[in-house]
């Protein structure tokens, strides 16, 4: 068993690919530098991230794959909860480079199919952020929303929010990963809230920190949400399927 250790960045992954081709040794396992090595292995190589190498690999992939497939690779990197993710991406890229024609449509290949599954999950999660973000107007006229996405998808949603809410200041914060994006009517910047005492970190604003009319519109929205359901057709199973309970925490209508 060959092990590559690297720094767990996308750049690092691409460097691994470069070095594998350079040394004609392909890894069976990719590991973060700090994690423990298994009991038995044939060789371990430590890979140092190198932007120029990564760039060359990416350029090579651009020749082999369509832009969609490249998005698929880079977006799947944001998926969490798949321990095999890195090795899978590595194998797919390896196959893509070796194959004479593009492999991206070969869903008979288990790796390509699995990657498309992961990408699908990332896309769904992105969609859910777009669907279920609920802005609360704070006292300083910033629209604040907290979210706990399963995958690290906030970066993929920023274009959407920037286009849609161009006329208002907003802040979307990933509560799990402790970072967010702030839009100040001109541009979007990545921020981390360092002040632990701020009411923002609770996710739901309290009466002091919210704008005057906020409470009113929240109430109206809750009223609307209750009124729009047809009681004769209540279907709690479908309700939970479409709007899983894990998102309820920051949904105004579910408070």
């Amino acid at each position: 068993m060959i092990i590559f250790t690297y720094d767990k960045t996308f750049e690092g992954l691409l460097t691994c690919l470069f070095d594998a081709y350079a040394g004609k040794v392909f890894p069976d396992v990719l590991q973060e530098e700090t994690s423990l090595l298994p009991l038995f292995y044939d060789g371990v190589y430590s890979i140092v991230s190198d932007p120029t190498k990564a760039e060359r690999v990416w350029k090579g992939l651009q020749k082999k794959l369509s832009p969609t497939a490249l998005t698929m690779l880079s977006a799947s990197w944001l998926a969490d909860g798949f321990p095999e993710r890195d090795m899978l991406l590595f194998r797919v890229m390896h196959k893509a480079i070796d194959a004479p024609k593009t492999i991206e449509l070969n869903f008979g290949d288990a790796d390509v199919l699995q990657l498309s599954r992961i990408y699908k999950q990332v896309r769904y999660e992105r969609m859910r952020v777009i669907q279920f973000v609920r802005f609360q107007k704070s006292a300083d006229e910033t629209y604040f929303a907290a979210f706990e996405p399963q995958h690290n998808v906030l970066p993929l949603t920023i274009d959407h929010f920037q286009n849609r809410f161009a006329g208002q200041k907003w802040l979307i914060y990933d509560m799990n990963r402790q970072y967010g994006y702030y839009y100040d009517l001109k541009s979007v910047s990545e921020i981390t809230i360092t002040d632990k005492g701020t009411p923002l970190l609770k996710g739901i604003l309290d009466d002091q920190s919210m704008a005057e009319d906020e409470r009113l519109f929240q109430k109206l929205w809750k009223t609307y949400f209750k009124a729009i359901a047809i009681k004769e057709r209540t279907n709690p199973r479908k309700h939970r399927q479409d709007m899983p309970v894990r998102y309820w925490k920051y949904l105004i209508e579910k408070q």
């Binding site: 492999i103 449509l105 070969n106 869903f107 008979g108 290949d109 288990a110 199919l113 969609m127 777009i130 669907q131 279920f132 973000v133 609920r134 802005f135 609360q136 107007k137 629209y143 929303a145 959407h160 286009n163 849609r164 809410f165 161009a166 006329g167 208002q168 009319d213 519109f217 109206l220 929205w221 009223t223 609307y224 949400f225 209750k226 009124a227 729009i228 359901a229 047809i230 009681k231 004769e232 057709r233 209540t234 279907n235 709690p236 199973r237 479908k238 309700h239 399927q241 479409d242 709007m243 949904l251 105004i252 209508e253």
Partner: protein, 412 residues
């Protein structure tokens, strides 16, 4: 608010699709990529995408199936135009909704009501609101107003409600087929004319870019599924008709003896109708293949596609590695997505049942209708259609429940 939302809730449409409009500089909102976004889901499992509300639930008509009919004693309310505009914009800013779906009871006369609906849309647009607007066109409104509405709205709709003229006469004496199909025609012509105009001048304003939709009530009148689906199929022949919605009848006015007394809305039938609708729109089925004189109603036990397959065993089994896309679409258990994946993947090599399963084909159903290289041949040709139907309908025993044969017990 509560009253008006409750009055509007029986409208089925929630879709916010069909338009792409980018945000104007510093304005509010856009409609993305031609697909709608559902922002929430109500407890009945329906998606909440638009603020679905009525301008007023006062109505001068007395339609038997409608909760807002004149003779009902319910609380009545009216929203002012400016209230509605503020409400829409504030909800939109908080990412609650994708836009507005505005409907109204008929007040004084159709034109008066329509004018106020148009005013809301106009005011929203003048405040740089670029979200989705769906207006209900009031039956009997004048051509000028419908045309003006089309300039501000993304979608216009006129509800047919009852798919048969006699039944409509019986339940809604003040309405006629004419008053419903007339505005539909206005919209249709408007869209076509606008298309011509936009070919000449690129900057010409768009007219109802997301087309029109309509809705029919299912189960309130004795129409068969054939009547309903033939009407939808005729409507879909016009390219501007994007969606026909079916709404299982909810007995809101149970005292009215012209209507059947239903305990439960006919949800399964409604579901089957939607499935048939999908077959027509995405699976290249013709309406007479789904329902016809010999088979006027959809089978409630199995979905219409499986039902077609069981009636036509001569088309099966289908060879996954050779059959063309249209035929793959007709296999029960293969949807649009899997059919496309199969067509794309098989150029790399023959597909096996294992791969089909991974691709997402529902093998439980599909196994009787396909051959691929290694599948044992127990297809619908060897088994009989009835047996296949039985096999698919009998639920498998759940794990852990021991299926013990029962011994007859004779008391002495």
């Amino acid at each position: 608010m509560k009253i008006l939302a409750e009055s509007a809730k029986y409208d089925v449409s929630c879709s916010s699709s069909g338009t792409v409009r980018r945000n104007t500089n510093g304005g509010l909102g856009n409609t993305v990529g031609g697909i709608g976004i559902c922002h929430s889901f109500a407890e009945d499992g329906r998606c909440i995408s638009l603020l679905k509300i009525m301008l007023t639930n006062n109505c001068m008509y007395d339609c038997a199936y409608c909760i807002n009919r004149r003779s009902n004693d319910i609380p009545r309310a009216t929203l002012s135009v400016s209230e509605l505009v503020t409400l829409t914009i504030e909800f939109y800013r908080r990412n609650y909704i994708e836009g507005l779906f505005l409907s109204s009871g008929v007040l004084r006369n159709p034109d008066y009501t329509m004018e106020r609906l148009v005013k809301v849309a106009k005011d929203l647009r003048s405040q740089y609101f670029n979200g989705y607007i769906h207006l209900k066109s009031i039956p009997g409104a004048s051509r000028e107003l419908v045309t003006e509405a089309g300039l501000y709205a993304d979608r216009l709709s006129v509800n047919i409600e009852i798919p048969n003229e006699q039944s409509l006469k019986l339940l809604a004496p003040e309405k006629s087929f004419d008053s419903i199909f007339q505005p539909m025609k206005f919209i249709h012509q408007g869209i076509l004319e606008n298309g011509e105009e936009r070919k000449k001048f690129r900057g010409a304003p768009r007219f109802v870019p997301a087309g029109q939709s309509t809705q029919m009530i299912v189960g309130a009148t004795p129409e068969t599924d054939q009547d309903i689906l033939y009407l939808s199929s005729a409507l879909y022949k016009r390219p501007t008709m994007r969606r026909v919605y079916y709404s299982g009848y909810v007995a809101v006015n149970s005292y009215d003896t012209r209507l059947p007394a239903l305990q439960q809305p006919p949800l399964v039938r409604e579901n089957r109708l939607y499935q048939a609708d999908w077959l027509m729109r995405f699976y290249q089925f013709k309406v007479e293949e789904i329902v016809n004189d010999a088979f006027p109603n959809l089978d409630l036990d199995v979905d219409p596609k499986l039902s077609w397959a069981l009636r036509h065993p001569e088309f099966f089994p289908v060879d996954i590695n050779r059959a063309d896309y249209e035929m793959l679409l007709r296999v029960p258990g293969i949807g649009v997505k899997s059919a496309k994946l199969i067509v794309m993947s098989r150029q790399y090599g023959a597909l096996t049942s294992f791969q089909l399963k991974k691709i997402g084909v529902v093998m439980k159903k599909a196994q009787y209708f396909i051959t691929c290289r290694e599948l044992p041949i127990m297809s619908i040709q060897e088994l009989k259609p009835e047996i296949v139907k039985n096999l698919l309908l009998t639920p498998k025993h759940k794990k852990g429940i021991f299926n013990q044969p029962e011994l007859p017990f004779d008391p002495i």
